[in-house]
């Protein structure tokens, strides 16, 4: 009798013990404390004397949103925070700071005990001053174990809009701030060059200029992960942190996505026209016939028609009254050679009438051979704006397509306008929208 009792009892004991595997309660979500900044970054910076080091002894607190960090290693052991008044660099002695201080994180910095100094004019906060070399004392970054003593993180995510500015407007009041320069391009000698010298881990400054007066350097660290990426040739916008090195004005980007330069460069002679079609030579109300262009119907037998109204010629297409279940029509440009130009853009205008959902698209292909079955080749849809929404009659104004960049394409390409609609016998589900198309242009430098 005893044997089974003890055996079962013993087994029970052991099962009990071995089953009490602990599951860990997960910590609560961080919601952050509520701190109030009692001074602004601008006010703080006014306490700094150039080339001096000030220890902050007051219980000041600043707040700011992180605008740059070491995510792509263009900023080294530092982050930049910005409030509505100004921005300042925080030197932090840690690795992968972006994990803890991602862009958009709002932080409070309790300044008591920190040091303020400048590096060739850039005001920074650090944990101490290294005076081993009395001629060039240096700010010491805040040690990692002290982060939590000086920095309090919020829980939310904030977006800092860059301040749009021209190179001439860059001055000390925007030092460290996130700025955006529009209509700028790299100097001709600086295009197509690596952002920095990754091989020798040397920083490189490239000249940025706009079509008017004024220029600024775009400086990139040799350690940046995008150092080997080549600078673009086009014109566009740059977003980054405005920094100074003595008298030199510099922009530091966070990543290559901060550089959007696909537009036409500013040139004295102006850009080249690679393709133009304004339909001025078409015969009104007849099937479109353009020299060099291919005009094909894939299904449905409906073609683009030439049109003329108030001295303007254009092309029109719509599936209305075809009585066809599917209508697909192609209008294909002559080949365009992109090898002798740069920063090419496509522009055209459209109007729509009786819009019930048929579509007009613009496509590009470098594989198409000029034959009569373009639908067997690979085409890519380009992101153009088309007129839409006019339910009865035609919209009064022409809708511009916007500048569609072709700069990523090389060699011989074809552009195609492809209409797709239908006109089934049933009343429901008709897609018969009519489109006007005019002023097709491809420009390049």
């Amino acid at each position: 009798m005893k044997t089974p009792v003890f055996t079962i009892g013993g087994l029970f004991c052991i099962v009990l013990f071995l089953n009490c595997h602990k599951t860990w309660e997960t910590p609560p979500l961080y919601t952050g404390p509520m701190l109030e900044a009692n001074t602004s970054i601008r006010t703080l910076q006014q306490h700094h004397l150039p080339n001096n080091y000030e220890k902050i002894l007051d219980d000041w607190i600043i707040e700011g949103v992180v605008t740059a960090n070491d995510e792509k290693d263009n900023f080294y052991k530092s982050i930049v925070i910005q409030d509505s008044s100004a921005a300042i660099t925080l030197r932090l002695d840690g690795y992968a700071l972006y994990r803890e201080f991602p862009v958009g994180k709002k932080i409070w910095v309790k300044l008591r005990g920190l040091w303020m100094g400048d590096y060739a004019g850039m005001i920074q906060l650090g944990g101490g001053v290294d005076r081993k070399d009395p001629l060039s004392p240096q700010l010491i970054a805040i040690p990692q174990p002290l982060f939590s003593r000086y920095i309090v993180k919020s829980a939310g995510h904030y977006i800092v809009q860059p301040r749009t500015i021209t190179p001439l407007q860059l001055h000390d009041s925007v030092q460290g701030m996130l700025v955006s320069l529009h209509g700028v391009e790299f100097a001709a000698s600086d295009t197509g060059k690596p952002f920095a010298d990754a091989q020798n881990q040397q920083a490189v400054s490239h000249t940025l200029k706009n079509c008017g007066p004024g220029n600024v350097y775009l400086r990139t660290s040799g350690f940046a992960r995008f150092a080997t990426v080549l600078t673009p040739r086009g014109n566009g916008s740059v977003t980054g942190i405005y920094t100074v090195f003595r008298t030199q004005k510099q922009i530091l980007i966070r990543d290559t996505s901060d550089v959007q330069m696909n537009g036409l460069r500013c040139t004295i002679s102006g850009p080249k026209l690679l393709l133009q079609e304004d339909f001025s030579l078409v015969e009104a109300d007849s099937i479109l016939q353009l020299p060099g262009w291919k005009h094909l119907t894939e299904i449905g037998g409906r073609y683009f028609l030439g049109k003329r109204s108030s001295q303007n010629s254009y092309a029109e297409i719509g599936a209305f009254a075809t009585r066809q279940p599917v209508v697909i029509t192609w209008l294909i440009s002559p080949p365009i050679d992109l090898d002798h130009s740069a920063n090419e853009v496509l522009r055209f205008t459209t109007k729509v009438g009786f819009d019930n959902g048929a579509i007009l698209q613009v496509l590009v292909s470098s594989q198409y051979d000029g034959g009569n079955t373009p639908w067997k080749n690979k085409w890519t849809v380009l992101p153009a704006q088309f007129a839409k929404g006019s339910l009865s009659g035609f919209s009064p104004a022409w809708v511009p397509s916007g500048d569609i960049s072709l700069h990523s394409l090389k060699g011989r390409i074809y552009l195609a306008f492809r209409y797709e609609g239908n006109d089934p016998p049933e009343q429901l589900g008709k897609l018969t929208s009519s489109f006007y198309l005019d002023d097709i242009q491809v420009w390049g430098n």
Partner: protein, 848 residues
């Protein structure tokens, strides 16, 4: 009725004091008797339960583990060496654990991968493992040809078990707080059946070490069937356990955070969570057959099967700040500015849990990562883990067969022959055990990413499933198996004469080692998946001995061994987690040993004096670590490791009366390397050879083992009921594992010989001498159950390190990472393990 009352009392006690500790029984063994089928007939005083010092220690690193026999040998030296010297990692003659052997029911228990003994499978099952026999190094055993180290055999068959109920409870502050145990064995029925089982449970919310929990159990069951002259036996056992780890701590950390510092744990929601948890469960199934056609002939065959996992967890991180609180950059010593160093010290001490893992922070950072739409093998919108808890799994499967025939050919000639075949596969992989608040991890090799940013191929851990999203519990990283096979045949002849005995043994062993990869990684697409080249090794062992008997009391023995052994899997492969490349030059290690002993035995005296000289040559080793100079992970393939172990052993037992006994033991050796080791340095990321160099290792000490250990014990016994022992041990000449990199020519640049810095870099670190005072008391109360069967209640108390010296270092190592520029050994300082301060085990058990 009386007995039932006692049982009730003990059960009650067990419930009131939640239990734990480990009891080992002593079994007497007659010299030169066959240990198998031995029936223990004991007086209580010889049969006291013994509590092992630290059963965890043996499972943390098997290779370094000493052989702790669970039997109190009559040999005074073995007795002290086993129970007392082992506290500070003493190993007989300084040999590593792979030179000793363990047999259970005639089956060789060995982890073929590294030669260690897989203790975890029977840890804590003392009731069934107490029938043991230990043969000191180079001695005779009928299980195999023997070897350099000691040979221990254990009989877990029912025939060897105590035919009674055993219930025990232990309260301790060592590895566990409570232990409950229960065991029972039946007599053999008239149909030849017998049955035995043992169960135990061990638990500690926190062991002696801070933040180290322990939870363990144990089960064993044996069934015997005897039929004519044959005995069939089946034994199944296992000891599942889960425990935290104590990390080695450098002196500066200990000064900063106090003597009980353990950086492995941190608070999570108010509870201590240890990041470095180990769980092991490797059940063993043994089927044995013994055939005894006549009195002095026996054929023993055993088939074994072992299967199970060992899991080790630790925090992994992806391009983020190091989560380990003892990382050198977080410590005051990293600051060059004294004010900042003081501020860092203050900030560390002001923290809620100074110097511990900040789990909350790991969760916070994971949770603040941006939500991303990740499209790899499949798509997922979530937060990518920056920190995660990885669990490294080592799944072992072993099967094997051993057979031995023991026969007395003539009364003067004993012949033993046998063979052994064993096959083992260790499957290594790791899983994301806990994503710590994140949603996924990606199966990328971040160290490969560092080598070439944006390289989409190199960073893949698995090219066949690129960019795989890893969710909780899924495998990532490496995935490979180590496959080992060993077979051996041996023959042994012993010749007994009136005044002299001879013995000769020869063994031939063949082994095969290979790696099989299951994933094709981006760095080594050609060498990572599939089977590597198989390494075949043929090794031999030749052993001879002579024993001259002057008279029944005194004899002198001389033994010699020549042996070669193959490198282990770990020593052979450069970086098995990544590829199947092996060390460029491969040789078997050669060992030769000569030992002499003098034995004296009389009514009051037992004396043994031995001296030995053992030479190892052509050893190999492999080190993997982060090299500051190369700024990468590197593999140091070391060969030409030669060393000499020489020394004396002395054991003395004096029993002037029935009540008093005095025991003394001394082991004094010199274990040192000779010649220069040669190193080939390869880069972990591309297996290219970076450097070849010599290590100036001549005359450097063999580390980790006390080269001098001595101790004495005084025991008072009163009849069979009471026993009290006072015991003291002393250890000296201990060095910590030294870093070969610091003893190379390349590291001498800028160091002036003879300067303090030069000494700090090249001198091996010697540990201070240590000593310890212990006390043990035991009391036996005879009881009878209601049927009149006699039994005993044993109460014992073991107090160790009575003077509570908390600064005794049990071992340590110089970090392999070295400041190659400043040559400052304190930047990555040596780390030490500390042994227990005052500790106790209280044991109460009932046998009926």
């Amino acid at each position: 009725m009386m007995a039932l009352k006692w049982i009730f009392c003990i059960c009650l006690l067990g419930m009131v004091y939640p239990l734990r500790s480990q009891v080992y029984r002593l079994a007497p063994v007659k010299k030169k008797t066959d240990t198998l089928l031995l029936k223990p007939v004991l007086a209580p005083a010889d049969d006291w339960p013994v509590v092992l010092w630290d059963e965890q220690q043996r499972s943390n690193n098997d290779r370094d583990m000493i052989f702790i026999p669970l039997e109190a040998s009559r040999d005074a030296f073995s007795q002290l060496a086993a129970f007392q010297f082992g506290v500070l990692r003493f190993r007989e003659r300084g040999y590593d654990g792979t030179l000793s052997q363990q047999w259970i029911n005639g089956y060789r228990m060995i982890n073929l991968e590294d030669g260690s003994v897989p203790w975890q499978s029977w840890n804590g099952l003392n009731e069934m493992t107490r029938s043991q026999h230990q043969q000191p190094g180079m001695g005779y055993t009928d299980l195999g040809a023997g070897g350099m180290g000691s040979v221990q055999s254990m009989d877990m068959r029912v025939t060897a078990q105590r035919k009674q109920w055993q219930m025990g409870y232990v309260l301790s502050n060592r590895t566990f707080t409570h232990k409950w145990s229960l065991a029972y064995a039946t007599e053999t029925s008239r149909h030849g059946w017998a049955f035995a089982f043992a169960l135990n449970a061990r638990y500690a919310a926190e062991t002696y070490y801070t933040g180290v929990p322990f939870l363990g159990g144990g089960y064993a069951c044996s069934i015997d069937k005897s039929w004519r002259k044959q005995l069939f036996s089946l034994t199944v056992m296992g000891a599942p356990q889960e425990s935290g780890k104590q990390a080695a701590v450098s002196n500066n950390l200990r000064e900063l955070f106090g003597s009980g510092y353990n950086p492995n744990w941190g608070y999570q929601q108010g509870r201590k969570r240890n990041a470095a948890m180990t769980s092991v469960h490797r059940p063993v199934c043994l089927l044995s057959h013994e055939y005894q056609p006549r009195a002095q002939t026996r054929l023993m065959t055993a088939v074994g099967l072992v299967y199970g996992d060992r899991k080790d967890s630790q925090v992994d991180w992806v391009q983020a700040a190091d989560p380990r609180p003892d990382y050198y950059r977080y410590l005051p010593g990293y600051q060059t500015d004294s004010a900042l160093a003081a501020a860092v010290t203050q900030a560390l001490l002001d923290a809620d849990a100074p110097g511990q893992v900040n789990w909350q922070r790991l969760y916070d950072i994971n949770r603040q990562q941006p939500l991303v739409l990740f499209a790899g093998q499949d798509t997922l919108t979530g937060k990518q883990a920056v920190y995660l808890l990885q669990q490294k799994i080592n799944r072992m499967m072993q099967m094997g067969i051993t057979a031995s025939l023991h026969t007395v050919l003539h009364k003067q000639h004993v012949l033993d022959i046998g063979f052994r075949w064993q096959w083992q596969r260790n499957h290594y992989y790791k899983i994301a055990a806990d994503l710590l608040g994140a949603d996924f991890h990606v199966n990328w090799n971040q160290f490969a990413e560092d080598a070439g940013p944006g390289d989409q191929v190199s960073r893949q851990f698995n090219l066949d499933e690129p960019d795989k999203i890893i969710r909780t519990g899924e495998r990532y990283g490496y995935d490979y198996a180590a496959i080992n096979r060993q077979s051996a045949i041996w023959i042994q002849w012993t010749h007994h004469r009136a005044r002299i005995d001879f013995n000769q043994s020869v063994q031939l062993q063949e082994s095969a080692i290979l790696r099989e990869g299951f994933v094709r990684n981006g760095l080594f697409p050609e060498a990572s998946a599939g089977r590597s080249a198989t390494g075949y090794w043929l090794n031999y062992l030749w052993k001879t001995g002579i024993n001259i008997k002057f008279n029944p009391r005194n004899h002198v023995s001389v033994q010699a061994i020549l042996e070669t052994r193959p490198p282990s899997f770990d020593q052979l492969y450069l970086s098995p987690t990544m590829h199947g490349y092996q060390q460029p030059s491969q040789v078997s290690e050669k060992i030769q040993s000569l030992a002499m002993g003098f034995h004296h035995q009389s009514a009051d005296w037992h004396l043994r004096f031995s001296m030995y000289d053992t030479r190892f040559s052509d050893g190999m080793d492999m080190l993997r670590f982060y090299h500051d100079g190369h700024r990468n992970f590197v593999n140091y393939a070391i060969r030409n490791v030669n060393k000499i172990h020489q020394g004396i052993e002395m054991g003395l037992r004096w029993s002037p009366s029935e009540s008093w006994e005095y025991v003394m033991a001394l082991a004094w050796g010199r274990y040192y390397y000779t010649g220069r080791q040669r190193v080939t340095v390869t880069q972990d990321n591309d297996a290219s050879v970076l450097d070849q160099m010599e290590v100036y290792s001549h005359q450097y000490p063999v580390a980790g083992i006390p080269q001098l250990a001595t101790g004495a014990a005084l025991t008072y016994k009163k009849g069979y009921d009471f026993l009290c022992t006072v015991q003291a041990s002393f250890w000296h000449d201990r060095w910590i594992a030294w870093n070969p990199i610091r003893r190379t020519y390349a590291m001498m640049e800028g160091l002036l010989p003879g300067t303090d810095q030069w000494h700090a870099v090249v001198d091996p670190v010697k540990l201070p001498p240590a000593w310890m005072l212990n006390l043990r008391m035991a009391y036996a109360i005879p009881v009878r159950n209601n049927r009149g069967t006699p039994g005993n209640i044993y109460v014992s108390l073991s107090l160790q390190n009575i003077l509570n010296n908390q600064d005794i270092i049990s071992g340590g190592y110089e970090q392999l990472r070295f400041d190659t520029v400043q040559k400052d050994p304190d930047r990555f300082p040596a780390r030490f393990y500390y042994t227990y301060g005052f500790n106790y085990a209280f044991n109460i058990s009932l046998r009926l």
